[in-house]
Symmetry: none
Subunit: 414 residues, 2 copies
């Protein structure tokens, strides 16, 4: 089967000063072109390491994409690395020197002498025009492999890839048709999902189902490969239908949807409004809801009541209730939600009170204990949770769980 | 010279579903331990590819760090890849099975059968406890190379690395002495800083100064290498002193400090309290302040007043003021801050009102227009900003700018 390698050149990638986003972009692009990536390698600005890595990549890949190291400074060595791998010399290409000079002319700057190196190519390779910068790309062929070298600056790389490289890759025969869909789930663990899916998650299956977790949100990626687009689409749809039946309300959305987005859509559709009263999440839930444009249709009042006094004055929680049960308790969560709903005059209110830690826990009320209440005119529902890990996780999980409770309530499942 | 390779396992890294942040974190850590990274490789969930990549890495690296593929599902194959590379069998380790079982017991869940695989180790290797999840790590030695396998979940990986792996790496002789310090700046642009530093930012200089920007926060990383620790420290300190004089109040903190943390410390030291009234940032500022434990010492009231009505009822902004000047205006920002401070009875209040977009802009009041007010008994100071880019950037920049205004006020510079 046809496959690709990606090589990213630059010391800054290896010492962690830069998080490489080029590789993920190219991985996504190649995947959807039906050319799976089998290796992403970051290497330092070093001629021999670049040459060795090209050699490794060409040993098993049909397409090798390289980014970075095409600048004009002494530590830009990708051209030299490619020349060493191809066992040939660099020469100054006339067409490229005109392109680079033209880039400077348009900006009314005289071309610095050091930029001449950017017009150099290994013998037998082709230059690729860069309309957004001074570093032309390079197209080379070695045996059956296509090697493409692009600049490391993300917008220059993306522009060059989309304009000049995609057409080259589309010419490659034997590409598979690939269709991918993601289902986003909340409210259970990775193991439980794996148990329910059983043999569907086997590695050699088509479609392939992949499972990732981020702050409690589980993403199932269903990827089908086939020789025809319609066939791949049908395979994905078959799995999606099965998963929707099997996982039912655990699935809250598809692709990049967030719980906040889905809840926002439900509130908008049902023309309902919501108020929020937060203690341990300290504004995180309101922030999640307002991350998405259009939140003003359903959200207008958020109260961050971080102290007992604020709960009493802002939410009309009775001091006796706090004294008797403590600020982190079912009765206080309920009183906070009712207070917020009354003040804001909304259809729903969510209240969160808990202990995010690291300090503040007791044997009776350990760090991670959180009460969440959804209050409406019809009913009030408070649940107790014991979250774990650290402050960030407890806060994030609390906000996500509150959104999920509201989602189920709006869908009539709770 | 001693060096390291990093291997990240997971199909999601190769098809671009996940941008790998683990590699950058580990690259930074190894760099500051004096162990430069010569290769970062992302490989698919495939036993043979994992084994081959371990073989390549061990051929020239003294330290090989592996992340990912230790989960309980069928597509987690790093254990098997390591066993194939080491040419030995996996066995269920008694101590590890107790650790994994204990993790479930603490959560009052019976351990799913499939999690037993997480207690399996290749013969001759050691387990590494994971206190935050069910995937123990693995420590192996092959020739002179140390191989460490850690879970891919970032917070589990970081905790395991810092607790268990750093001490192992510190034992390695021949490490260079590397000292790194970061200065965090806010309130100017990257080009302006580059201009002020001039030749200090040259690539072949020791210390090396690197500049990165994230939502307006500029981080200057100063890294010195020397054969002795004291020499490297002195080189860094010399640069830091110069930069502190040159950049002065633009520097708000060091290393990982955030503006919210620094403001929290100042409020705590000065025994002052703060209330927050937010419109366009929708809870983001309160969330930033409460990200850090101990915020209850200075913060107790946050009000997210997303609608005019909420501004009127919750913050006592006069309807006439909103009608005359609009909700996004200097007078309304001031009234919001005064209302919040009066309601909460705090020393300071911050109010933010603006247009985060993408909709809602007009020729007079375009998207990105934001007013921020800091109010105290002594004075009230409102500033107008025109931010650019997208909703996320405008919201984040607004919250950061508000924190920086408060920082300068607390330091007596404003």
């Amino acid at each position: 089967m046809i496959c690709a390698s990606i090589i990213c050149v630059g010391n800054e990638l290896l010492n962690g000063q830069t998080v490489d986003s080029n590789a993920a972009y190219l991985g996504r692009q190649l995947f959807s072109l039906g050319i799976p990536v089998v290796r992403i390698v970051a290497v330092p600005d070093d001629i021999q390491r670049i040459a060795d890595t090209l050699s490794l990549a060409c040993s098993d890949s049909d397409v090798v994409l390289v980014t970075g190291g095409l600048g004009p400074t002494d530590d830009d060595l990708t051209r030299q690395g490619l020349a060493r791998f191809l066992d040939c010399e660099l020469y100054e290409n006339e067409a490229l020197i005109k392109q680079v000079a033209c880039f400077f002319e348009q900006r009314r700057i005289s071309m610095p002498q050091r930029n001449r190196i950017q017009a150099c190519l290994p013998q037998g390779t082709e230059g690729i025009e860069n309309t957004l910068g001074t570093a032309p790309g390079i197209l080379a062929r070695q045996g059956d492999a296509v090697i493409v070298v692009m600049p490391g600056v993300p917008h220059e790389m993306k522009n060059m890839f989309e304009q000049n490289i995609v057409p080259v890759l589309q010419e490659i025969p034997e590409r598979a048709c690939v269709v991918m869909k993601r289902l986003r789930c909340f409210g259970t663990g990775e193991s439980m999902i794996a148990d329910r899916l059983g043999s569907m998650m086997q590695r050699d299956r088509n479609p392939l189902i992949n499972c990732t977790v981020h702050f409690g949100v589980i993403t199932l990626t269903i990827t089908a490969r086939a020789d025809q687009q319609a066939r791949a689409e049908a395979l994905v749809e078959q799995d999606v239908s099965y998963l929707r039946r099997e996982l039912n309300t655990l699935i809250f959305g598809v692709d990049d949807q967030t719980l906040a987005q889905v809840v926002g859509q439900l509130l908008t559709e049902q023309k309902k409004t919501i108020a929020i009263a937060e203690s341990c999440t300290g504004g995180l839930l309101a922030q999640c809801l307002t991350d998405h444009a259009g939140a003003s249709r359903y959200f207008n009042h958020g109260l961050v009541t971080y102290s007992n006094e604020a709960k009493i004055t802002q939410l009309s929680v009775s001091p006796e209730c706090i004294a008797q049960y403590g600020a982190v308790s079912e009765p206080v969560a309920g009183a906070m939600a009712r207070g917020a709903r009354a003040r804001a005059g909304t259809d729903y209110a969510i209240a969160i009170t808990g202990i995010a830690g690291p300090a503040g826990g007791t044997p009776d009320k350990p760090v991670g204990l959180v009460y969440i209440c959804i209050d409406s005119q019809e009913d009030s529902h408070t649940r107790r949770f014991q979250f774990t890990h650290n402050r960030e996780f407890i806060r994030s999980r609390s906000a996500q769980t509150a959104l999920n409770m509201l989602r189920l309530r709006l869908l009539g499942f709770d």
